[in-house]
Amino acid sequence: MTNTQTNRMPQEPMMLEEVKIRLAGDCLIHLSLSVAAGEVVTIMGPSGSGKSTLLAYIGGFLPPAFEGEGRVWLDGKDVSSLSAERRHIGILFQDPLLFPHLSVGGNLAFGLTRAVKGRAARKASVCEALEAINMAGFEGRDPETLSGGQKARVALARTLLSQPRALLLDEPFSKLDADLRVRMRHHVFERARSEGLPTLLVTHDEEDARAAQGRIIRLAPNGMVG
């Protein structure tokens, strides 16, 4: 690492600099990209193009079979050498992945940042978060009893409570039915914008890309930017 690189301050909240991901020597992804606060950039590509792997690299959970290189800048800091839990990058998957052993409130409290201290304050934060998604009073509920849309909203709220500095969306709408998908897209993008989060959306659904109203990057089947 040379000094010139460490000192260079990126212009945007999230920047990918010369990110390359290889599998068994083959280069799957080669990408540089900057995402502004509140901007949603969509990455599209057929399955197997490595778009989910890219999110895994940014989030810090690249499977050992892959090799990744390149920097990820967040708010002017290079986070690519940090472990995943120190990066403050929120992620949403296809499934809401609410922890089945915790209540709805427990799930939110699990996500809530440690910066909020004290029992009462933490409870209040969880309560507020539920109000913000029109689910006030759901603290004690078993997540398994929620509808698909409610689960998805709780999952988003949980991620936002951890105060991420960027948001990664790994086809989060693909398992919702058509009607719900439209509303969830609206909800997620609006929250991301209002929180000023640089957001990367990975999808193969054109509708998702259009609704995101941001730049669209298309990956060719071999993962190179087409």
């Binding site: 895994a56 989030g59 810090g60 959970f61 499977p63 050992p64 995943a84 839990e85 120190r86 990066r87 403050h88 990058i89 929120g90 992620i91 998957f93 499934d95 992945l97 922890f99 089945p100 052993h101 915790l102 209540s103 699990f110 996500g111 940042t113 440690r114 078993d142 997540p143 398994e144 009893t145 949980r158 991620t159 951890s162 991420p164 990664l168």
Partner: protein, 565 residues
């Protein structure tokens, strides 16, 4: 790189499996050639080997061990093949699985004792049909158990290993998609059973080969079942060995060591014969494929498979029922089918005597289980963090203590512990049990561990939680049920251990199992019934707790019910 204690867990667990087995074998090998300085053996000699070979009846002992190992495994395996190929997915099959799962956890000794009570000349079955059907007013004159050909022992081992092989197969089957494959072969015109044997069995067999080897090794070297059901003069090799090992004349230790090595060779020979059988069977199967024979009319074979399996389960259930009945029996004259009266007398009299062996069994089993669970969790967590999974060689290491005969390496281990003055200590005994509980705990937990969706852990990481926080707050609670089940399995295995308790405990630690086996020679059925029943109860209580705790804990969490997993 920074040293992380957790990352040494997989290494530690391998050492714990390999170490005692290798050390124990070495500890038996040296005295075999006369080297055991503690007892004055400080020169190399072939004297112990000569003494061993001069033992009267040795050839017969070896033959009995070989026969029981191979025949019991073969019969149990054929019954499993019959059941799976002919009845998968039927009501009979579900009934079998439901009946058989709890039977797995019952210690071998208890099953053998129940089996002896049921089929003995004065046993329950004869009593049920006498004198009406048989005209007998006195017990008939047949030799059971302890028949000279070991048939009682082989039969007892067969029905006891059947549940194990069936459940191991059921665990492996889903990866093979047996239904679709069997249907495909049937559409080519093959009968259902032979179709299953062609399409499913070879792949299933590859997956359950190690458990089958473990069964062969176990059945060819078992001590407690052989003591209860096997021939006495000459006995199977393993029983003969234990006699030498516990002989007050210390010079017999040399003979016993030579015997332990012989037992290892006999078990290896059994495995070798099996291996040859595998080759022959696959050639035969190959010829069958070539011939294109369809065997469409397999109704008779289906019926045979069903009756054998149902008979085995009924025998087990009646055996265990008989034990319960005997323990509560008052006066029970011979040809009567049931006792004249029931009483709590035996229980009341034995109550105080039961306390110490019960306490010991729970203490040793509890410690061996807790240590086993902690080590297993540490290993799995370390593997997850390093992004690794146990490979094929790790499986072989895990199975090593189950495939090398207990009696062959435990004796050498005992000699080593004696020389360092650690024998009879509680920790040594717990360690002795751990060698056998750990593989079962690990095998029972590792699949469930890896099945847990890794995205839950990624999600928790993205929420800013550390690896340890995720271990305690996500993995452990989500895996509570399989962890407790694995613990119950480990506990049940420890409760059933006879030989480690006897050898490493040096007879100073009486457990329910050592008492039950010791009593079996006496013939007081009421008393034996009490101890055998306690032997069954302990594992049962373990599994009960393992089921109840998660159910209570997660009663408002639908996502945590077992049906969901």
């Amino acid at each position: 790189m920074r040293f992380r204690p957790l990352h040494s867990a997989p290494m530690l667990i391998s050492l714990l499996m390999l170490g005692p087995v290798l050390a124990g074998l070495l500890g038996a090998l040296l005295p075999t050639f006369g080297w055991l300085p503690v007892l004055g053996g400080d020169s190399l000699t072939l004297e112990p080997v000569r003494a061993l070979l001069a033992t009267p009846g040795l050839a017969r002992s070896i033959a009995l061990s070989l026969a029981s190992g191979l025949l019991a495994t073969l019969l149990a395996m054929l019954m499993v093949i019959g059941l799976l190929s002919a009845w998968s997915g039927t009501r009979l099959f579900r009934w079998m699985v439901r009946m058989i799962s709890p039977l797995l956890s019952i210690p071998h000794a208890a099953t053998a004792l129940g089996f002896a009570f049921l089929l003995a000349p004065s046993g329950w079955i004869v009593r049920m049909i006498s004198p009406e059907l048989t005209g007998w007013s006195r017990p008939p004159d047949w030799f059971f158990p302890h028949d000279p050909y070991g048939l009682a022992m082989i039969a007892g081992l067969t029905i006891k290993e059947l549940p194990f092989l069936l459940l191991v197969s059921l665990a492996a089957l889903p990866q093979i998609e047996p239904r679709r494959t069997q249907n495909l072969v049937r559409s080519l015109g093959y009968g259902p059973m032979v179709g299953w044997v062609h399409a499913v069995w070879p792949r299933l067999y590859r997956q359950i080969r190690l458990p089958i080897f473990a069964v062969i090794a176990y059945a060819s070297s078992v001590v407690d079942v052989a003591l209860i059901l096997g021939p006495t003069n000459p006995p199977p090799l393993a029983v003969q060995l234990v006699r030498w090992m516990s002989d007050p004349n210390l010079s017999m230790r040399f003979l016993a060591s030579a015997g332990a090595i012989l037992q290892l060779l006999v078990t290896l020979a059994a495995l070798g014969i099996w291996w040859g059988g595998e080759r022959m069977a696959s050639r035969l199967l190959g010829c069958l494929v070539q011939s294109g024979l369809r065997f469409q009319r397999d109704e008779w074979a289906r019926r045979l498979a069903a009756s054998l399996n149902v008979a085995a389960v009924l025998l087990m259930l009646l055996s265990l029922g008989g034990l319960v009945l005997w323990s509560f029996a008052g006066f029970w004259r011979f040809p009567d089918a049931v006792p004249v009266s029931l009483s709590l007398n035996t229980w009341m009299r034995q109550g105080p005597m039961l306390m110490e062996p019960l306490y010991n069994a729970v203490l040793i089993g509890g410690l061996a289980t807790v240590v086993g669970i902690v080590m297993t969790l540490a290993t799995l967590e370390a593997q997850s963090r390093m992004g690794k999974r146990s490979g094929r060689s790790a499986m072989v290491i895990l199975y090593l203590p189950l495939i090398v005969p207990q009696v062959a390496f435990l004796f050498g281990l005992q000699l080593i512990l004696l020389t360092v003055n650690a024998s009879y200590a509680l920790w040594a005994l717990v360690f002795g049990h751990l060698i056998f509980t750990l593989p079962y705990i690990f095998l029972s937990l590792s699949d469930q561990w890896h099945v847990l969706d890794p995205r839950y852990m990624q999600m928790a990481t993205a929420l800013g939680r550390s690896a340890w926080a995720i271990f305690w707050r996500v993995r452990l609670p989500m895996l509570l049920r399989p962890i407790l089940t694995a613990a119950a399995v480990g506990f049940a295995v420890s409760i059933g251990q006879y030989l480690p308790t006897l050898l490493i405990g040096g007879g100073r630690w009486e457990t329910i199992t050592t008492e039950a086996v010791a009593l079996s020679a006496g013939g007081n059925r009421r008393l034996i019934g009490v101890y055998a029943l306690m032997q069954m109860l302990l594992p049962f209580v373990g599994f009960l707790i393992a089921t109840l705790i998660p159910t209570l804990f997660y009663k408002d969490r639908r996502g945590m019910t077992p049906a969901d997993r």
